[in-house]
Amino acid sequence: MPVRAITPDYTGEIKDKLENFHGNQLVFAGWDGHLMFPAPFAWPLPPAMPFVALRDQVMAGSFGIHPEWAEINWDRAQWLLDGQPFVPDLQKGLAEQGIGHKSLLRLQTPELKGFMGAGV
C-alpha cells in the first residue's frame, strides 16, 4: 500500500520531478573521507554540461576551500555514480554518460587522508 489515506487510490504530487527545474537536473556530490564538508552538496545543472565543468568549476567552487583539493591526483581519483564504480568522460555531457536527475556522485581519493589524517 503506497500510502494510508482516507481517499481511495490517493496519489501524491511528485514535488521534485525533473520538469520543475526549468531545464536543469539536480546532481549531488560528496567527497568521501573529507568531513570538513558535513554533507554532500546539491546543484541544479544543465544535463549537457561536460563532466569537466562539473569537476573543475562546480565542485571545485565548493570543495576547493579544503586544503587537500589542490593536491588531488585526478588520474588516481575514483568515482562512484549511484553506488557503482564510474569512469567519467571529461568532455561528455552529464546525462550522456548516465548522470541523471538526482544522481549521486561520490569522489574517492584514498591517498588523501584529510586534515590531521582524520578524514576531515
Binding site: M1, P2, V3, R4, A5, I6, Y10, T11, G12, E13, I14, K15, D16, K17, N20, F21, H22, N24, L26, F28, G30, D32, G33, L35, M36, F37, P38, A39, P40, F41, A42, W43, P44, G61, S62, I65, D82, G83, G100, H101, K102, S103, L104, R106, G114, F115, M116, A118, G119, V120
Partner: protein
C-alpha cells in the same frame, strides 16, 4: 428549594461522558469519517480510561492561578533586566532556535489535538484531546511571552512564525509535525502522545530546562516548570492511548508497532537539534546529550518497553542504531550549522578550548578521533581569515529533511547513503530508518517540500543565497546570521557589561 450541589463524580460525568449522544437519525459512521481507514479496530469505547479527570471549570481555575504566578515572574525578570543575568550571550542562540523550531510545534500540536478531538467516536478520547489542545495553545503563548523579553535586546527573534514555515533547517521540525497531522487520528496519537510526549519529551524539557537554570534564564525555567504539570497529564494520555489500542483488538498490535517504529525514528532525528543545543549551545553545561539519552531513554524507555512486552510490543526498530549514534549526532549537527553559519538565523561559533576538553571527557570514544580535528581545522582557517562557510546547498534526506550528515555506525567517518527508486525517480535518505518510512508510504513522501530543491526550482526568490535569506526568510543579514564573534549581539553585550 435550592438545587443540590453535584458531587465531583457526577459533575465529572455530566461534563465529559454525558457530552456524547445517540445517533437516532444520522449515520454514526458519517459523523466520524476518520475512524476506520487506518485499520485500527475499537470494539468498545467505554473502556477508555480518562487520563485527565478534569472538567473545564476546574481547568480554568487551576491554569489561571498558575499563569498569574508565571506572568508575575516574567514581569519581575523584565523589570530587573533579566537578560543581563544569562551566563553568556551565546546562550541566547539556543533560545532563538527554541522559539523558531520548537514553539511553533506547540501550535501544531494544538491544531492536531483540536482535529482529532473532534474525530474520535469515543467521548472520553475526544475530551482528553480537546483538553490537551488547549494546553498546547497555552504553551505556545507562554513560551512566546517568556522569550519576548529577549527580542528587545538580541537579534533573530523578530519573525519566528514566518521563519518556521520557510527556513531550510526549520523544515525539519515543521515536516515532522506536518507528517503527524496528515496521518489518521490514531497514528497522530501514537506519534505525538506516545512516541513523542511519553517516550522522548523528557529529553527536550528536563535537560533543556535545567540548562536554562544553569545559564541564568529565569523566564524559560519558570515556563518549563509551569508546563511540567501539563506534560505529566500529556504523558498519561500517551500511555492510555497505547494500552487502550492494544487491549481493544489483537489486530491493532502490528499497526501500533509499525507506528512506534516510525515515530521513534522520526523523533530521534528531530532530537539531533536538542542534542546539539545541550552539547554546544549551553555555555554552562548540565549533562552531555549522551548522558541525557542514557538516563531518559535507555533507562526509562527500556523499563517502559519491558512493561509493554506483555501486549506483544517490542523495542522500537533501530533503537540499537540510536544507541550508537548518541556518541555522534550532536557533533555532526553543530558542525553542519557552523559551516552553514551564514544561512542560519542565529549565531554559531567554535567551542572554547575548555569546552572542547569537556566534550573529549564526555565522549572519550569518539570526540578526539572524529570531531576535535574538525574544530582544529576551523580554528586554523579562522586564524587565516578564512572562516568556513559552505557556498553550496547540502543534499537533504527525503524523509527527515536533515542534510545528509549522519554516518555509518559501523564506519563513523563515512556518510550514510541510502537510495530508493519510485516511479522512475530517485529518493535519497540518511539512514535505513528514513528509507524504511519512505518505502512504507512513498505517495506521501514524494511530496516532501525539500528546501534546497525548492530554492533550485526558483520558488524561494533569489537567485542568490543572500537574496533568499533576506527576502524569503526575513533574516537581517549581518545581524541575525554569521559567527558570534563580531556580531552585534556580542558587541551590545560587551557594552552592557562595561557599564556594570
Amino acid at each position: 428549594m435550592a438545587a443540590k450541589k453535584l458531587n465531583l463524580k457526577d459533575k465529572y460525568k455530566l461534563l465529559t461522558r454525558d457530552l456524547d449522544w445517540e445517533f437516532s437519525y444520522e449515520d454514526r459512521k458519517k459523523a466520524f469519517p476518520y475512524e476506520d481507514f487506518e485499520g485500527i479496530k475499537i470494539n468498545d469505547w467505554s473502556k477508555w480510561e480518562d487520563p485527565f479527570r478534569l472538567t473545564m471549570d476546574a481547568y480554568w481555575k487551576y491554569q489561571a492561578e498558575k499563569e498569574k504566578k508565571l506572568y508575575a515572574i516574567f514581569d519581575a525578570s523584565s523589570q530587573h533586566n533579566g537578560h543581563l543575568n544569562v551566563s553568556d550571550p551565546r546562550y541566547i542562540n539556543a533560545i532563538k532556535l527554541f522559539l523558531t523550531g520548537i514553539s511553533p510545534l506547540e501550535y501544531q500540536a494544538y491544531q492536531g489535538f483540536a482535529h482529532v478531538g473532534r474525530q474520535f467516536g469515543g467521548v472520553g478520547a475526544r475530551v482528553a484531546c480537546q483538553m490537551q489542545s488547549i494546553d498546547e495553545l497555552r504553551h505556545v503563548q507562554t513560551q512566546v511571552h517568556a522569550m519576548s523579553q529577549y527580542n528587545k535586546y538580541f537579534d533573530g527573534f523578530h519573525d519566528w512564525t514566518h521563519m518556521h514555515d520557510r527556513v531550510w533547517y526549520l523544515s525539519v521540525p515543521k515536516s515532522f509535525f506536518d507528517d503527524a497531522r496528515t496521518s489518521g487520528p490514531f497514528e497522530f496519537l501514537v506519534a505525538i502522545s506516545f512516541s513523542f510526549e511519553y517516550v522522548l519529551t523528557n529529553l527536550v524539557f528536563v535537560p533543556f530546562m535545567s540548562g536554562a537554570a544553569h545559564n541564568g534564564d529565569m523566564a524559560t525555567v519558570t515556563f518549563g516548570f509551569s508546563a511540567q504539570s501539563d506534560e505529566a497529564r500529556h504523558m498519561t494520555l500517551g500511555l492510555e492511548v497505547i494500552k487502550f489500542l492494544l487491549e481493544q483488538d489483537e489486530g491493532n498490535v502490528a499497526i501500533v508497532q509499525k507506528w512506534i517504529d516510525k515515530w521513534f525514528w522520526r523523533g530521534c532525528r528531530l532530537l539531533s537539534i536538542v542534542g546539539m543545543m545541550m552539547d554546544y549551545m549551553l555555555p554552562n553545561k548540565v549533562m552531555s546529550w549522551k548522558e541525557a539519552w542514557e538516563v531518559y531513554f535507555e533507562e526509562a524507555g527500556g523499563a517502559l518497553f519491558k512493561d509493554l512486552a506483555r501486549y506483544g510490543i517490542r523495542m522500537p526498530q533501530y533503537a540499537d542504531i540510536v544507541e550508537k549514534e548518541k556518541e555522534h549526532v550532536s557533533h555532526q549537527a553543530w558542525w553542519t550549522f557552523y559551516t552553514y553559519g551564514h544561512a542560519a538565523g542565529f549565531h554559531t561559533w567554535i567551542p572554547t578550548d575548555a569546552e572542547l576538553d569537556w566534550l573529549s571527557e564526555k565522549y572519550p570514544d569518539t570526540f578526539d578521533k572524529y570531531y576535535r580535528p574538525r574544530w582544529e581545522l576551523a580554528k586554523k582557517l579562522e586564524s587565516e581569515g578564512k572562516r568556513i562557510y559552505n557556498n553550496a546547498l547540502p543534499q537533504l534526506c527525503n524523509t527527515c529533511q536533515i542534510p545528509m550528515l549522519f554516518t555509518e555506525m559501523s564506519e563513523p567517518g563515512q556518510i550514510a547513503y541510502r537510495v530508493s527508486e519510485y516511479k522512475g525517480d530517485k529518493y535519497h535518505f540518511c539512514s535505513d530508518g528514513c528509507q524504511h518510512i519512505f518505502e512504507e508510504e512513498p505517495e506521501k513522501y514524494v511530496q516532501s517540500w525539500l528546501p534546497a530543491h525548492q530554492i533550485y526550482m526558483g520558488n524561494c526568490g533569489g537567485p542568490d543565497v543572500p537574496d533568499i535569506l533576506r527576502d524569503y526568510y526575513h533574516f537581517n543579514l549581518g545581524a541575525d546570521n554569521l559567527d558570534m564573534k563580531g556580531s552585534p549581539d556580542e558587541q551590545r553585550w560587551n557594552e552592557w557589561k562595561k557599564q556594570g
